[in-house]
């Protein structure tokens, strides 16, 4: 048992320390500033919390409508208790953690903001089995271009439903509206895909 876990009272939910919140914030900032370049989330909380929940737990407070897509409601209750964030459906949330497998065609409607307030759009953290930057092996791959990407960069994200890219493109067709995405592996590797990044699908 970690020292943090041992220090908690019985029944108290696991959460992030202020220092860990800052590390998560920095990792999210870097990941979104340099799309497709993976970052590492702090390791200690990964033993107790799902990795894709960390950005939501670090960024939410009572002013951020938040949604956790999971089987059951265990982690939604944790977020609500530890941050006082109002829990909403995916269509109203500013912060979304997707902790379960997305089914084909499931990507639901998320908030895309408006031209006057694009910052109201959702930041969606999706748990994925693996992310690979500049992959060498053959297979489908994304070619990323846009701000924060000098030239272009290759990224492979496993475990997403078919049609994910065209779904994202549709959400971002009214730029500056759109959604920002984070892909997080179980070990805390984190890649960002902000709405400003153009994604081309290729096979190498």
């Amino acid at each position: 048992m970690s020292p943090e876990a041992a220090a908690r009272r019985p029944g108290q939910a696991p959460t992030l320390s202020p220092a860990e919140v800052q590390l998560v914030f920095r990792a999210v900032l870097e990941a979104l500033a340099r799309p497709g370049t993976p970052r590492q989330l702090p390791e200690r909380p990964l033993a107790e919390l799902p990795s894709a929940l960390l950005p939501v737990l670090a960024l939410s407070d009572l002013a951020t409508p938040t949604c956790v897509l999971e089987n059951g409601d265990r982690w939604a209750r944790t977020v609500r208790t530890m941050t006082s964030a109002p829990m909403t459906g995916p269509a109203d949330a500013r912060l979304v953690a997707v902790l379960r497998q997305l089914a084909d065609g499931e990507p639901v409607a998320f908030r895309t903001g408006s031209a006057a307030a694009p910052q109201d759009a959702a930041l969606v953290c999706v748990r994925v089995p693996e992310i690979e930057a500049e992959p060498a092996g053959p297979g489908p791959v994304w070619r990323l271009e846009g701000p924060g990407v000098p030239g272009s960069r290759l990224l492979r994200v496993a475990g997403l439903p078919d049609g994910f890219v065209s779904w994202r493109d549709r959400l971002g067709s009214g730029f500056p509206t759109g959604i920002d995405l984070l892909f997080v592996t179980a070990r805390g590797r984190l890649a960002g895909l902000p709405r400003t990044t153009r994604v081309g699908e290729e096979v190498i």
Partner: protein, 372 residues
């Protein structure tokens, strides 16, 4: 606005910052601990908490040390820190009647109901400079009387305004719960005129003390034509409990205690369309012990209620009293404005060139100040 990007000069900037840090942190004198600042510079700490909008004595004391005693700069540091904190709960409304008073005076009435409790004050002390090089000898205190322990009743005195209300001498503003809208959070939405009273009160509670006192004095002296009688009703400094809803039980629980200063100003109504047989009350409250601010706030509250929609008072209160707003704009003048000024020079020179031609009425540059 046009600033040249701050490029180059980085080593000079770092060296300047180094000078500040070395002189401040390694001065040849004992370190000023947080506790030292809390206990000896209490009023500065309270003022910083009020102007920053964050009640945390230790953080305000640390900011005071970092800012080398510059209260406005310290409030800036604390407000910047505050903006990084998650908002975990909204407190339940505070009931001022719950205040445990440390000081309570009613200068309008000898027997206001409950005691006149002077508390800790130098109001009646001559302003004579003392220059001791250490604490005075303990013998000086030996003859001093130990004040009797105050009873719970004395610590929760009645309110002078309630006395006036019983005598039917106050204009009634209470119209049930229907007229009790959610207060505006000025930390989230900048208040702009016309604004509800909650926004004006919140802006004043966070305002720079000097700016508020200056505006109050102006409203009293009357260059704006709204001269009014000033009577301070009640002034209190004391402790209040802070409650939030418990996330599991849903019941309010006390999570802390904070000190606040509260003032009620009595206004003699004399306007043509006012009830001249009654008084009205202005209200002020701010973090910590800051009587000047609370009194100015209470007076300005009633002035705003009476004259707010006539002149510029509301605009002045909302837009000019915030220390970070005004101080920040002033400080930014020290950043490089090379491009702005260069373009002004160019306009002057172009104007002179145009005047040199035969054109009897040359197009002169726009006056400065329209955009910056």
């Amino acid at each position: 606005m046009g600033y040249s990007g701050v490029r180059g000069g980085m080593s000079a900037i770092l060296a300047a910052e180094g000078l500040v840090r070395r002189a401040r942190d390694h001065a040849a004198t004992p370190w000023a601990s947080t506790e030292q600042i809390l206990l000896r510079f209490r009023l500065a700490v309270d003022r910083i908490m009020g102007e920053a909008g964050l009640y945390d004595e230790a953080i305000a004391a640390d900011a005071f040390r970092q800012a080398e005693g510059d209260v406005l700069e310290a409030a800036h540091l604390v407000r910047a820190h505050r903006s990084t904190l998650p908002r975990l709960a909204v407190s339940e409304p505070v009931e001022p009647a719950e205040m445990v008073v440390l000081r309570r005076i009613v200068s309008a009435h000898r027997t206001p109901g409950g005691p006149q409790l002077l508390g800790r004050t130098t109001d009646y002390t001559g302003r004579l400079l003392e220059r001791p090089d250490g604490p005075p000898p303990a013998a000086d205190d030996a003859g001093a009387q130990v004040p009797p322990e105050r009873t719970c009743e004395q610590r929760h005195p009645g309110r002078f305004s309630d006395l006036l209300r019983e005598l039917d001498l106050l204009v009634e503003h209470r119209h049930g719960t229907a007229a009790d809208p959610e207060p505006v959070d000025v930390a989230r939405e900048p208040a702009r005129p016309p604004a509800p009273r909650s926004a004006v009160l919140a802006s004043m509670a966070r305002a720079e003390t000097g700016a508020l006192v200056g505006l109050w004095y102006r409203s009293i002296l009357g260059p704006d034509g709204a001269v009014h009688e000033v009577t301070l009703g009640e002034l209190r400094h004391g402790r209040l409990p802070l409650r939030v809803i418990h996330p599991h039980t849903g019941n309010p629980v006390v999570v802390g205690v904070f000190r606040a200063t509260e003032a009620e100003a009595i206004e003699d109504l004399d306007g043509a369309d006012e009830d001249r047989t009654r008084f009205d009350i202005g209200y002020g409250m701010c973090f910590g012990h800051n009587e000047r601010k609370a009194i100015a706030m209470a007076n300005l509250d009633i002035a705003h209620r009476r004259f707010g929609d006539e002149g510029s008072l509301e605009q002045l209160l909302l837009l000019t009293t915030d220390g970070l707003d005004s101080g920040g704009f002033l400080e930014h003048l020290k950043l490089p404005h090379y491009v702005t000024f260069r373009s002004m020079m160019d306009r002057k020179l172009a104007g002179r060139e145009a005047r040199g031609t035969d054109d009897p009425n040359p197009r002169l540059p726009e006056p400065f100040g329209k955009e910056c």
